[in-house]
């Protein structure tokens, strides 16, 4: 069985999207989702609405992980296979980090290029595949 590695951070299905929290008082959107208190210093809001973020954005910067990161990172394979990471600027005004989709590396990335959100398997545990959001270059 396949399930998101973390609940409530992204939708699944054919057109997945990140889920942000929009402050019902000042309208500021936060990702990862938040609750309890708004971090805008001039807002004392405490309630949030779930809001889907844009599925596409542009690369702010990128890199990769040539060495296996330490725990609590769980490698998806043994031996370790390096993966790329991208910070993507969304039209909402947030830059969101994510791994880059399987099969793409730094050679496929440039700053300013368009990226699209996908959901892929991060690792497998005793309950099955745990999925996460990733950024995939738009061809």
């Amino acid at each position: 069985m396949s399930a998101p590695v973390v609940d409530g951070w992204f939708t699944t299905g054919p057109e997945p999207a990140l889920l942000g929290s929009s402050c019902t008082t000042c309208g500021t959107v936060f990702f990862p989702p938040t609750s309890g208190f708004c971090r805008n210093p001039v807002c004392d809001g405490s309630a949030f609405a779930v809001t889907e973020l844009s599925r596409r954005g542009r690369v702010w910067s990128y890199t990769d992980a040539q060495y296996r990161p330490p725990p609590p990172y769980l490698p998806a394979s043994d031996p370790y296979v390096p993966f790329a990471l991208a910070a993507v600027a969304l039209p909402e005004g947030l830059v969101v980090l994510g791994q880059v989709a399987d099969g793409f590396g730094v050679a496929d990335l440039t700053i300013g290029a368009e990226m699209e959100l996908v959901v892929e398997t991060l690792y497998a545990d005793e309950t099955g595949d745990r999925t996460t959001w990733r950024w995939r270059p738009v061809r």
Partner: protein, 393 residues
């Protein structure tokens, strides 16, 4: 406001000896006290920089050092501010001295680090961004540094050779520094031939993690006058937090805050420096020497601009012209920087203060910046921490 005087400084050499951080801290503390000519029993306040990787004795570092040096009834405090820990500890001591609540304060930071990447302590913490960035993304510290480096290449045309040149410069600076862990030349070719860690940063572009300790003895102006101490003064300690919305991706967060307005506010690192200059009543043109936090080679170039030592996008020009080398217009990291030390988190911001103290006193030996009278440190840690300390003589 007059400054607080630096009465003495001391360090335990950086390395990877694996001994208890307390041992390193005591060596540094005793060295700083000897440098000041002040007895431990005359210290009325001890402030420790916390280490989070050495159990409870690390969480209560101030008390740990006080007990190790022998209980004297001194007041105690412990600070934690990630990589800015040492500066925050220094600021606590300074504030109590300025308030008239302390005459002589000892500030100590020491660490014993594991091999390899710094990583969270064990246990599952699904609400801790520092844990989540590893579990969900595999996002190490060098991966963040690499993203900044890639931005620099994109915005200003920086090249991998420039980053390598920073390492080569700092390696030369630190060659004969007795407290440095790595004391050998590094060529540009060697850096570029070292394994890629996080593109575009190679192994030799990224600082190591080290054991080490640094200590600073501060005293009041009155005490300094009475004892003929403290030609070096602390003019500013900036420990400002970021300003909402945080537009630049910062450790250990997974995203920036939503920014919808114009991008004219200073970025966080720049605001750290601005606050220091304002408090000291000086500007970047007054600075003779800088110790900046080269967690990566590329970050040294960012810091030069954040400190206003040159306009945005021109750090590479200064580097290539040799202006940031000892003997140049504005020497950066004459100690050898993190490139030669590796990072001992709670000690590192204090080590920067030790180096500038020696520089301003004219005691830096082979790495002396001639005639240095004003120095600034710069440092950034996770979770919105950072510091800049201005010292003058």
């Amino acid at each position: 406001m007059t400054g607080v005087a630096v009465a003495g400084v001391g360090m335990h050499p950086w390395g990877k000896e694996g001994r208890l951080f307390t041992e390193y801290g005591v060596v540094a503390a005793r060295a700083a006290l000897a440098d000041a000519g002040i007895s431990w029993t005359d210290v009325d306040l001890v402030v420790g920089g916390e280490t989070v990787r050495n159990g409870y004795v690390g969480y209560v570092a101030g008390s740990t050092f006080a007990q190790a040096l022998g209980w004297t009834g001194a007041r105690v405090a412990t600070s934690y501010a990630a990589c800015a820990t040492g500066a925050q500890a220094l600021d606590t001591a300074r504030a109590r001295i300025l308030a008239g609540l302390s005459e002589v304060a000892l500030v100590v930071g020491a660490d014993t680090t594991p091999k390899g990447f710094l990583a969270p302590n064990t246990g599952e913490r699904w609400d801790d961004p520092d844990w989540l960035r590893f579990r969900l993304l595999g996002m190490t510290n060098p991966a963040y540094f690499a993203m900044y480096a890639r931005r620099r290449m994109h915005l200003y045309g920086a090249r991998s050779e420039d980053f390598a040149q920073v390492k080569a410069k700092n390696a030369r600076h630190g060659l004969t520094n007795p407290n440095a862990r790595f004391r050998r030349e590094s060529s540009v070719a060697e850096v570029l031939a070292s394994p890629m860690v996080s593109d575009p940063l190679h192994l030799l572009d990224v600082c190591a993690t080290s054991d080490g300790a640094a200590a600073v003895v501060l005293c009041s102006d009155a005490y300094a006058r009475a004892h003929g101490l403290g030609e070096v003064r602390i003019r500013a300690v900036s420990t400002v937090t970021p300003t909402f919305p945080q537009r630049v991706l910062d450790l250990p967060y997974l995203a920036t805050e939503q920014a919808t307005g114009a991008e004219d506010a200073p970025v966080f690192r720049e605001s750290i420096a601005l606050a220091a200059y304002e408090e000291a009543g000086i500007g970047p043109d007054d600075v003779d020497v800088a110790e900046v936090y080269d967690l990566s080679t590329a970050l040294e170039l960012d810091w030069m601009e954040d400190l206003g030592l040159c306009p945005r996008g021109e750090a590479e020009h200064l580097l290539r012209a040799g202006e940031t080398t000892i003997g140049g217009r504005i020497p950066v990291n004459p100690s050898g920087g993190l490139a030669c030390f590796g990072e001992a988190v709670p000690a590192q911001a204090l080590a920067q203060v030790c180096e500038l103290t020696w520089q301003l006193r004219g005691q830096a030996g082979d790495r002396q910046v001639a005639g240095a009278r004003v120095g600034i440190t710069a440092n950034q840690g996770m979770f919105g921490h950072g510091s800049a300390v201005v010292l003058t003589r």
